[in-house]
């Protein structure tokens, strides 16, 4: 096995997260469709003028501010998403322009279902770890599509987080110890070109897809590094609903206490490519120096990226501004019709 360990140590020097303020409750979906499900209590909904790019910009700006760096020195901006506003035209260019990183910058959009954001993180780690870039920004953000009356309608939500990577120093809030990816061709969820909504394999998305890959990546990284679950203060697992990350944690030997700070899906739903990044940001919001954080994403298709971060002293000075909890608490409920309008599902 080959672990993703860098030639020089790399860490995060700034992070930011953003969740739109509107919420749709599971009970409202049940009212309309006569259902009984509640895989999450409620999910975030975009405003009329929000999309993956605006979410990315919000998170990126906060990350730059917290990093206390000149944004023109950011050499890479990568946006991981499965809800690009443009089918052809990068989202990363708009984000890079908005934060002042252009023109001396590499940008691209990443797609790997819900793990596109953590793929972008690994790429940034590689760029900085190889000394090719001083600063590199990875973003995971989505405004996920859920077909009306599909099981995914309860959870498909919006939000995102951004992380700026740099060589490890006293300014680093958390440095990366190792990262590992586990990928197979497992078609559990997909959206073909020109289709409006993704399709999924129902229960096939569980054990042979989500759990197999989370366990595959997580166990391999633990074995390679020699760490045990109890060595970590916190853990984050991709959260497509409220139940899966809890079961994944239990399966790998982590406790509810370890995942609690990063478990935000019950209140905002599944933010897809933003899911693990947002959970990680929520964990950074409360972490203390020397805390170790274990994080594993999952993207349908399928694969998982696992990370081990160790928090440093700088975190206490570099998490000013609104925390993720404040974005979660700042909410306004919408009814189903308004939700459809915000999602562009009512055609004028």
């Amino acid at each position: 096995m080959i672990t993703l360990k860098t030639g020089r140590q790399v860490g995060i020097i700034g992070y930011g997260a953003y969740v739109p303020m509107y919420r749709l409750q599971a009970s409202e979906i049940n009212r309309v469709w006569g259902g009984f499900g509640a895989p999450v209590e409620e999910k975030s909904v975009v405003a009329l003028d929000e999309d993956t790019i605006t979410i990315s910009v919000e998170a990126a700006k906060q990350a730059v501010k917290r990093a206390k760096i000149n944004p023109s020195e950011i050499g890479a901006v990568y946006v991981g998403t499965e809800s690009k506003p443009y089918a052809v035209k990068p989202s990363g260019t708009i984000v890079a322009e908005a934060i002042g990183a252009t023109p001396s910058v590499s940008t691209a959009d990443y797609e790997f279902a819900c793990k596109a954001g953590t793929e972008a993180m690994q790429t940034c780690v590689g760029l900085v770890g190889s000394d090719m870039q001083k600063y590199a920004m990875a973003i995971g953000a989505d405004t996920a599509q859920g077909k009306p009356h599909d099981a995914l309608e309860y959870t498909a939500a919006c939000g995102g987080a951004a992380f700026i990577f740099a060589e490890r120093s006293a300014d680093t809030i958390a440095y990366l110890e190792a990262s590992y990816s586990f990928v197979t061709d497992t078609p559990d969820f997909w959206r073909r070109a020109k289709q409006m909504y993704p399709r999924h394999g129902n229960r096939f998305t569980g054990q042979p897809a989500y759990f197999k890959h989370i366990a595959g990546a997580g166990q391999a990284l633990l074995e390679e590094t020699g760490y045990k679950p109890e060595d970590f203060k916190w853990a984050v697992f991709h959260q497509p609903n409220a139940k899966f990350p809890i079961n994944a944690a239990r399966m790998l030997g982590f406790s509810m206490d370890q995942i609690k700070p990063g478990l935000v899906s019950p209140k905002i739903g599944n933010t897809y490519a933003g899911s693990t990044p947002v959970g990680l940001a929520a964990t950074f919001d409360i972490a203390e120096p020397d805390d170790k954080i274990f994080a594993v994403s999952y993207g349908s298709g399928s694969g998982s990226d696992a990370f081990i971060f160790t928090v440093q002293d700088a975190i206490t000075e570099k998490r000013d501004g609104p925390k993720l909890a404040s974005f979660i608490e700042r909410k306004k409920y919408v009814d189903y019709a308004t939700y459809l309008k915000h999602r562009g599902q009512i055609i004028q």
Binding site: F204, Q207, P208
Partner: protein, 379 residues
């Protein structure tokens, strides 16, 4: 006719096999039964399966599955009779040996339901109804069962008393290695589960699962478990065409014929497996077998008569609700379980002194039903 005995049984756990094919499941159960029978040569294979044409896009199923046994030249036939495929295939296999045409017959039930999405399974279940008269309306199998369930509630029993059928099946599945859901379920949990088709709760329905079960039949040597009686009977497919929708004539007719062949009365039965794909069907199965009078099936379920140490233990490994209901394989699971009981190999599920066991397996809303009677003979 020659007497026929069960020489070997092979069961695999009912579950979702995401990483295995229908051939894999068939081969594992079949080879287990062949090994258990300590038999070298087979001369006939019956495959019971309901939905491979829909679920695996596979026809010529018996040929393709039999290839996995590595015994070219075997005669192979697929039997399809809706959810009754297993019991009907067994009925045919018994005749093959009894007639003297075959000396060693493998009958394997197999179904792989997890290859398709649940809404397609729902469509597949409705395909056991008449497309020109019933299924074209869009009614689901659960919907039809709900009508029967409601009528039974109006005449005989409360929703809770009917629901107890599922609770009992789960109770019996505890510790069963081949059961899909080997855990207890409280009546409160079952009654609080969402409505699948009012008044049927979700926890009153069998689930979706993959499975395979196999039996080897040979001429009897007056030792072990013999087939004492076997019968298949049909009825009007639509409940609307029947004089009394609750009568389930196919069950009663098949039971009457099988009991007559075996020379037994319902009161002689040590244990029975009934088709509880819905709780109401389990109750009607009990009544159809003559174990309880019409309208009194729920009393038997609620007063403990169906318990392992009760008057007539029912669904001793969990039935369709808890052991699982892999459609075409279900009837063979039932018969293998009865055989294990009569062989004294049922472990914690063992019914003491079991001598005569019955398996009732039906398709549609009892538009076809098989009743097979097994008897322990010799020492």
């Amino acid at each position: 006719m020659r007497k026929v005995k069960i020489a070997g049984t092979g069961l695999i756990k009912v579950k979702e096999y995401w990483d295995r094919s229908i051939q894999d499941l068939f081969a594992e159960a079949s080879l287990k039964a062949i090994k258990d029978a300590s038999i070298g040569d087979l001369d006939k294979v019956y495959v019971s399966n309901m939905g491979a044409a829909l679920m695996q896009d596979q026809l010529n199923l018996a040929t393709i599955l039999t290839e996995s046994l590595g015994k070219p030249g075997l005669s192979a036939t697929r039997i399809e009779a809706g959810s009754a495929s297993g019991g009907v295939a067994f009925h045919e296999a018994v005749q093959a040996v009894a007639s003297g045409y075959s000396d060693a017959v493998l009958v394997t039930g197999v179904e792989k339901m997890s290859d398709i999405l649940p809404d397609v399974v729902t469509t597949g279940l409705a395909m056991a109804e008449d497309q020109e008269y019933t299924a074209y309306t869009g009614v689901t199998k659960t919907g039809i069962a709900a009508m029967i369930h409601r009528l039974y509630m109006d005449l005989y029993a409360s929703p809770k008393e009917i629901c107890m059928m599922a609770v009992k099946s789960h109770e019996h599945a505890v510790g069963c290695k081949h059961a899909q859901y080997p855990f207890k379920m409280s009546i409160e949990r079952a009654m609080a589960s969402p409505m699948e088709a009012d008044p049927i709760h979700m926890m009153e329905c069998s689930g979706i699962g993959d499975g395979a079960a196999a039996l080897v039949l040979v001429p009897s040597d007056d030792e072990g478990v013999e087939v004492a009686g076997t019968a298949v009977s049909t009825d009007y497919t639509s409940i609307a065409q029947r004089t009394d929708p609750l009568e389930m004539r196919a069950i009663k007719d098949a039971a009457e014929k099988a009991y007559k062949m075996a020379g037994i009365k319902a009161s002689d039965i040590s244990l029975a497996e009934v088709q509880d794909d819905y709780t109401i069907n389990g109750i009607l199965g009990i009544e159809g077998l003559g174990l309880a009078k019409t309208g009194e099936g729920t009393k038997m379920v609620n007063n403990g008569d169906v318990d392992k140490d009760g008057k007539t233990p029912i669904n001793t490994f969990g039935g369709l609700k808890a052991r699982g209901n892999p459609l075409g394989a279900t009837g063979i699971y039932q018969l293998a379980e009865v055989a294990l009981q009569l062989q004294g190999k049922a472990g914690d599920h063992q019914v003491e002194g079991a001598k005569i066991g019955v398996a009732q397996n039906m398709g549609g809303m009892a538009s076809i039903c098989s009743v097979n009677v097994l008897r322990r003979v010799g020492e």
